[in-house]
Amino acid sequence: MEFSDLIRTGRAQAKLLRGPEAPPLRGTLCLTGHHLLLSPGPQATSELWLLLLRSVDSIEKRVASDSGTITLRCKDLRVLQLEIEGVEASLDIARSIEALSSLESVITSFPFFYRPKGLRLGDAWHFHPPERYYKRVARETNAWRLSEVNEDFSVCPSYPRAVIVPRSVDDGALARSARFRQGGRFPVLSYHHAPSGTVLVRSSQPLTGPQKRRCAEDEELLRAVLAGARPGARGFIVDTRSSQAAKQARMTGGGTEAKAAYPGWKRLHRPLERGQPLQESFVRLVEACGDLQQSTDSWLRRLEGCCWLAHVKEALSAACLAAQGMEREGACILVHGAEGTDSTLLVTSLAQLILDPLSRTMAGFQELVEREWIQAGHPFQLRCAHSAFSHARPKHEAPTFLLFLDCVWQLGRQFPLSLEFGEGLLLALFEHAYASPFGTFLCNSEKERCLCEVRTRTHSLWSGLNQPKEQRKLRNPLYAPNPLAIWPSVELQSLRLWQGLFLRWIRPPEPSEVAWEKVWQIVTDKEKTKLSQPTVSASEPQL
């Protein structure tokens, strides 16, 4: 198949409306295999305007006598309007956009063609593999080892090649434990909390089924987790389903760990919303945000009605629970729901942000996303196929990753000095997760990425983001390393709507963000003053 087959009309005169903030743009509209371009013509001074077709979420067309209007709703929640001369042309273009934006094939997607200047293929792809995290763990404890039991992805298709497991458990036992867990996701190390000598472990649900089956190796594995932790450590299993849902899962072959089989472990239920209801919540919130000519009253009603902030609250409090269990109770924590690829990752990654100062740095956070989301097998392709505007019936879509980013944003808002990165990085991750010229968020697992040769044939988002010119947008000018755990306040009074994301295209940046420029100015002033008098900066640590 060629892209040209899908392009009926490649060119037309058009006017682009980009919302109240930006002036309309006139020029020649061109459609390519991956992009929509608007060239403003020779006399105009403004730049070429470019839109990645993949980021189009839904398209609406309306025709008048001699022109057509296409409304494009993008995955990053932007709404654009194109007024195109000629009815035929506009209908053709609309159809082409529709076809091109919904292509499913990974290897014909734009990242495989994107060759930006200044970046080399293969850069930063080996930036954050589990091996790197293992080096850190090995410095802290020797109770864990790096296992390559999944070298060929046969034990667990959604795990990376290498995983960190208790040293005392051999690969054979791992493989048997994997057969007892849904999708082969046997318990692996997520985070080692050195100060308390405890660990955070994640997996999928055990396949106990109605017969209440058991698996000796799985039990041995969890025993080894406790044995490797600080002496006398207990364990808590944080199940992200309600106890009722967990029980019901037995009928379909899943279930929960039986109490008697896992001595030392206790089970807690923290039901988190997932799947379709979460997607619906996202859709309703975006709808409410798109309709702001309402009074405060109906706004609050709609905000509550969509439950998004309630989901943020639940996610953060589940993460607090896990983090508290480790830091305060000195207990090991195993987190799982059903598949262990969604809310499980949400809880483990947030718990690390709360506890681990390193994960709050720029590099540390990128590593966290890579390790706990991308390598850990969050099915990005399925979950982020459509955003909030799509008319298609959602199948596997769910904004779990967005929920994670929102929780991180809440943490950043509550602890403005403790994260090295700013809102800019979170916004970039949201955009790139849904549509990106980079290969980082492609596919659903490492296995698929290997098959598609993503690592060798596309550029990594991290190398794109870590270019010096991008840094100012992404960094937090006020960052000061904070060695303590950051305990967020999670009740609704303390949570805010992430305006920078949900209202990003509707209104100018959050008012307090206006102060940001001033902050940058102060920070830059400080640096400048320091530069101009190097002798002074030498005496600075006396502060």
Binding site: P20, E21, S243, K259, K266, R267, L268, H269, C289, L292, S295, T296, D297, S298, W299, L300, R301, L303, E304, K313, S317, C320, L321, A323, Q324, R328, E329, Q414, P416, L417, S418, N482, L484, I486, W487, P488, S489, E491, L492, Q493, S494, Q499, L503, R507, P508, P511, S512, V514, A515, K518, V519, I522, D525, K526, T529, K530, S532, V536, S537, E540
Partner: protein, 721 residues
Amino acid sequence: MEIHTNEKEVTEKEVTLHLLPGEQLLCEASTVLKYVQEDSCQRGIYGKLVCTDFKIAFLGDDDSALDNDETQFKNKVIGENDITLHCVDQIYGVFDEKKKTLFGQLKKYPEKLIIHCKDLRVFHFCLRYTKEEEVKRIVSGIIHHTQAPKLLKRLFLFSYAAAAQNHAATDPRNHTVMFDTLKDWCWELERTKGSVKYKAVSVNEGYKVCERLPAYFVVPTPLPEEDLSRFQGHGIPLWCWSCHNGCALLKMSALPKKEQDDGLSQMQKSFLDGIYKTIHRPPYEIVKTEDLSSNFLSLQDIQTAYSKFKQLFLIDNSTEFWDTDIKWFSLLESSSWLDIIRRCLKKAIEITECLEAQNVNVLLLEENASDLCCLVSSLVQVMMDPHCRTRIGFQSLVQKEWIMGGHSFLDRCNHLRQSDKEEVPVFLLFLDCVWQLVHQHPPAFDFTETYLTVLSDSLYIPIFSTFFFNSPHQKDNVGRESQDTQSKPLNLLTVWDWSVQFEPKAQMLLKNPLYVEKPKLDKGQRKGMRFKHQRQLSLPLTQSKSSPKRGFFREETDHLIKNLLGKRISKLINSSDELHDNFREFYDSWHSKPTDYHGLLLPHIEGPEIKVWAQRYLRWIPEAQILGGGRAATVSKLLEMMEEVERLQEKIDARPHGQGALLAEAPLLLRGSARLSALFPFALLQRHPSKPVLPTSGWKALGDEEDLAKREDEFVDLGDV
């Protein structure tokens, strides 16, 4: 109930009661247990509960070392455990686990006393270990002194002023313009270039004309003096402020309606006609009348909304907190407080649009011109006049519009407990509206939200005269009365002397480090700037844009009106559609341009933009604290950096120490921001800095480990195992 105290703690250490000059101890009770707001365990501190003629105070036996002087934002007048009598909102007693409102004579005395304060603190005192006699005395004392109607003369204000005569060493005026002299008004006229068409008059000197009006005020120049005294100050257009284009904001108290007396109403009518004629004639711009008592908020709305709203924050315990948290947004919505704020801001923008874009004068009309008039006119000035966004300017504004404007603080705050019906938090509503602006445009304001919060707290501190009179006449009169008995004039303090309440380093927190100072230009340049600013802000009038919603008939009648009445008047009967369009266009166009912090400033009024003033309303709720985070952390970091910039700059310039000295003090307060709460400087939680708060809906206190195991399949939380 379990109480974690041992006998040793019960033996009282002497904690001295700090009394202000003129303050008298009325009654006291010992071995009172003050609960620390905590979830399941009810811990507390033993101590003495006292009631004076100024405050209710709890003197804890607890080691006062906890009051870490370095990190506390201390009020010199009111301690952490002090409640001024005027700050008490409701008192409840607990009888056999049942909570009842306490008032009047009691037959039975409660075992627990719960005090809800107007600054939203909640105190729990357990009286179970107190001697019965003392319980009776303290409870009835507190109820009597906080709830019974009072005479103005009995206000603590006067005993304090009489006793503290010699203490007033500092300049109380602090450069705030008080508007109690003719000079002050002339100065304001000059500042706003209003002196061309308006004059300051002294006809009401000694309150000869009217007791509601200040001694001096400003009216249109051609208005004859005899008119001013015709209807006791009613029906006179009083000048509030002049805009850079010469348009003015005026206010007028409506003439009392008398239906039966035809002659009088005829007289009133012709009088008003005369007045309107005067101010309609050039050089005056067209006047648009804005009747605030008919199609705007009623005081009743404000009262109802706030009494619902405040209940969201007066929380007795954690369980109650988590129960309401689930319904937070719907409860917030049903109070409609945020909607009221939004309507006030909207009204102020509408009036701003008239002045700025349509070049018309606006006349605010209200029964006494002392409630919503004050609110709306001062909001308009905060938005339009950058001077009002400096601290001195803001204080002068409050002085001009609220104090001299005759807002009845005494009645609206119900300081004398004479009528609950009159109690309406109009001034607090104004502060909340200003907070929205401060929150949305931090660099435009010289003061911080902390400033607004402490200002709102100062409403209930009866040592300042500012908020304890209904009118300047009342203040001067009472002052004169007491002068007869004493030889010296009473020295009443003004709230603007912040040094009475705060040490200089604490005052630093009232100043916004992010404030964008006005660029200093020479005169020629400034003129140019001004012109540009004017051009930038004046928008095309909406005539060019025809309103699509209007039907044929509507348009026809409009034409008719225009032809019959001339263009001038037709503008006054704008259709509401057109009004709405004007508003929308003005609002959208302003927001699509970059903000000039020294020009016109408009708030966003879309739903998500109107927020809860967390610092004021949530500050005493332990669950809402974010330790080591929030704005406090940002501000402390910024102050620290600015201090460094300044120090380095100083070294470079080798200039002598100037204002830098003060700035250097501030970070001391904020140092170690990891321990501070987001709601700093008001957090209560420093005592348990390391306890993470775990939220659960339907929290269940957990037993020991066995218990946890037994309930394995239930919904279980880790909690305080």
